[in-house]
Amino acid sequence: MTPILLIIPLAFAILTLLLPRNWARATIIPGLVLQVGAAVLLCIQIYHDGPQDYALGDWQAPLGISLIADGFSVTLLALTSLVAALCAVYAQYFLTRYPREQRYFWPLFWFLLAALNGIWLAGDLFNLYVGLELLGLSAVGMVALTAEKTTLKAALDYLYAALFGSLAYLAGVALLYGAYGTLSIVQLSEMAAANPTTQVALGLMTVGLLLKTAIFPLHYWLPPAHGGALAPVSALLSALVVKASFYILALLWLDVGALAVTVNAAQAMGFLGAGAIFWGSWQAFQTRQIKMLVAYSTVAQLGYLMLLFPLAIGVSEAAAHLAWQGTVLHLLAHAFAKAAMFLAVGTLVLALGHGRINDFGGVSQRNPVALFAFGLSAVSLMGLPPSGGFNAKWLLLQSAIASGQWHWFVVMVIGGLLTAAYVFRVFRVSFVQTAKHDIQETHPALQFSALALALMAIGLGFASEIPMSFMNLTDFTPSPGGSP
């Protein structure tokens, strides 16, 4: 069952690459249905049978390629399929204006999906590297789709960042392999000790991944790339792609290197996160372009993910558990909300013909659904109830209280207010009645796919139990360890 999730996207990637344009379009819907169906089936299977290991071609670790499907990975798989499916629906209508880009969008889309699925399922560090490379390349390709001067520059920056990040990561992997002779996550987590080699390796990998995740202050490439790309691309990148490198980072710190990381290092990661929250929010508050606003919002929101490390390392098991749950929920909620937000913003920009926030007057009359989707996703981003974002924030706050780390508590509360500050800039102008120029109607599918994602972000507030029950199926629980 498990490998199918890799096979489907790869197969469709090749199909869309080879088939003529009209045929390629016809394969999208069946492909999405297959992909979502397979993800759901896998979820059900895991739910009933528990986590599963799968050795590709029956080659066992440390040599073979092993896939691990546990509660966490299937949750992410399901998330990926859902978000990607809705983005694809959106892209189908959105790209009718971009015939040339459409040609290359779909193969890249499927490669991206394959890379993501590969990362979620990977059981060893090298597979993760492969996934990371594939992901980076397809993402850069998607950013570069429009081939405008600015986006090309952004794509190039992104490419350099991705390559450098991969290199740093690879160096770390090599060090670890040299030291322990295996790259299997399960095996490494038992073997890796707190020695300089491990720590240097982890450090290298962390820097690479921080760069790829665009954590402050290594976020410079993200806003132009995410803000400049086509709307469905931005949605995919912000919602899913950056999460992949964060996922690996979390694996490294909490599982692979659990015995090697220190509390101080974890706190340092937290400070990076806090920096991201403040800097990203401030930039989002300053920018004039709506897509840049959303992109900076991603920078800020990624900061919350970084709080996992100080909140889960070197604290009581209960607090770590809360932090872990909160982070996962935040990851999910942000994925839905940010995808919805980019799609909604894409629609609004399409309708207005520009992205200047201050000239958004009158948009509420012509595109109410898109604006509403933006609003709902903003609710989740701000961490206001009822939404997935709120539940996540709640759990993180509880974790901070439980471990007595009041500085993170304060950071999160202020972060929510900062988010409100920049999000409401958009609402504010949308209430201006008079439009400065013509506003076009947009296809309902564009508006409603955004709304569907936004509703998922809100609905997650009522259905947090589902991902959490899956999380309990993971044998990958944060270790309370960590030497001081």
Binding site: S364, Q365, V379, L384, P386, S464
Partner: protein, 501 residues
Amino acid sequence: MTTLLPVFVLATSLITAVLIFVLPERHIRLRIGLNLTAALLKIVLVAVMVAGIANQVDYEFRYELLPGIDLILRADALSMLFAGLSSVLWLFTTVYAIGYLEGAPNRSRFFGFFSLCVASTMGIALAGNLFTFLIFFELLTLSTYPLVVHRGTEESLKAGRTYLQYTLGGGAVLLVGVALMYGLVDQTGSMTEFAETGTLAAIPSEQHFTLAVIFFVLIAGLGVKAALVPLHGWLPIAMVAPAPVSALLHAVAVVKAGAFGIVRVIYNIYGVEFAWQLGVLLPLAILASITIIWGSLRALQQVEVKKRLAYSTVSQVSYIALGACLFGPVGTIGGIVHLLHQGIMKVTLFFCAGNYAETLGIHKIKDLDGAGARMPLTSIAFTLGAFGMIGVPPLAGFISKWYLGIGALDAGMSWVIGVLILSSMLNAGYFLPIVYRLWFKSRREPWPDEHIPRGRFETHGLLLWPTVATAVFSLAAGLFAAHAWSPLSWSSLIAFREYLP
């Protein structure tokens, strides 16, 4: 049925909100029909529940949101008071708003958020624990913002920004308070459930300091919406909203949500007896008293009708907090009954202010000269509301003050009488000149901007009748105060249950 009824009550306005959003702008009749049907249905459902509560039926709906944390919708006597108020006033303000916004743009959005706002107040009324309360409290912020900035003018956008700064800030503080409560005190989730007579009395004394701190954090969060000085700054500025919005905001929605929250925290979380022992009630009572006096003083200085009413709200809403701080059933009755009394009186006053503005273009107090002759029913309603606010019997406000006064004496806080009387005099100081202008000054120049000519009635029927109805209510609430079905009797029932051992 007993589990789903609270959900239905909530759903009547929530689903209406969704349907109105979906309905295109041009389906005016359908939207009005939908809105009014839902409002009437809600009143019927609330009435059924009120009858049930009186007969000790439990209405409760539970849904686990997070491990150990439930979303609880539960109806008790106190929640029905608030739910009853908001359902009845929803009907009236909706009728009023239909008349007020006739022909205006964006009505779909307006009525959608209007219903959403009522749904939030309903959720606040029915919330069964702090967590649920917080959810609807924040939802209220979100659903009222679009109403405040509805006009989309530069001024209203600015007001909206101030409104958000205050309310989101307050929401964040409340979140901190609630999170601290769950994280530090209540690991099981049962102590933050609202229970008659409170839940915290059994906490060991070494945690009492923490509890006192959390109390003030919660009050600070709630106090923004309840417009406690110095957190009241948003309220007069939010006056730029259309009149029905101001009416709803001041009478039930926002300020009442804050005041209601304070009552909940004192009575159903801490328990008034425990809070009294903790020593947190006296500071709050002093703060509320300062607010009462300060609001009245500021109201005296205002030259615009709506601004004056706004500061009056600042002052009047704190009576509720003050009543909640008076240890003893009589003070409790006074505070709780004022929740309702202030609502109907203030809604009347705002309707009147809206009528003057819509019919004659009057915004400034000095332009009100002789309006009594031109708009007698509106002016009678205003006079009744104003005298009620002053606390002149037999209007509703008198009953509140009477109980607050006696409650203060029972609690051994006789200085509160001074606050009440001083506030009454200040109220007289800023309301009587208006009443005087209405009835005793004669009109010399034409009205500033007469939109609605005198027809069969002095103004549009949809503007007039809700005004008259709420004025009659504020008279009846005082006149029939001792009747078994009066708000006062219901408040006595609540107080009785709160003080039951």
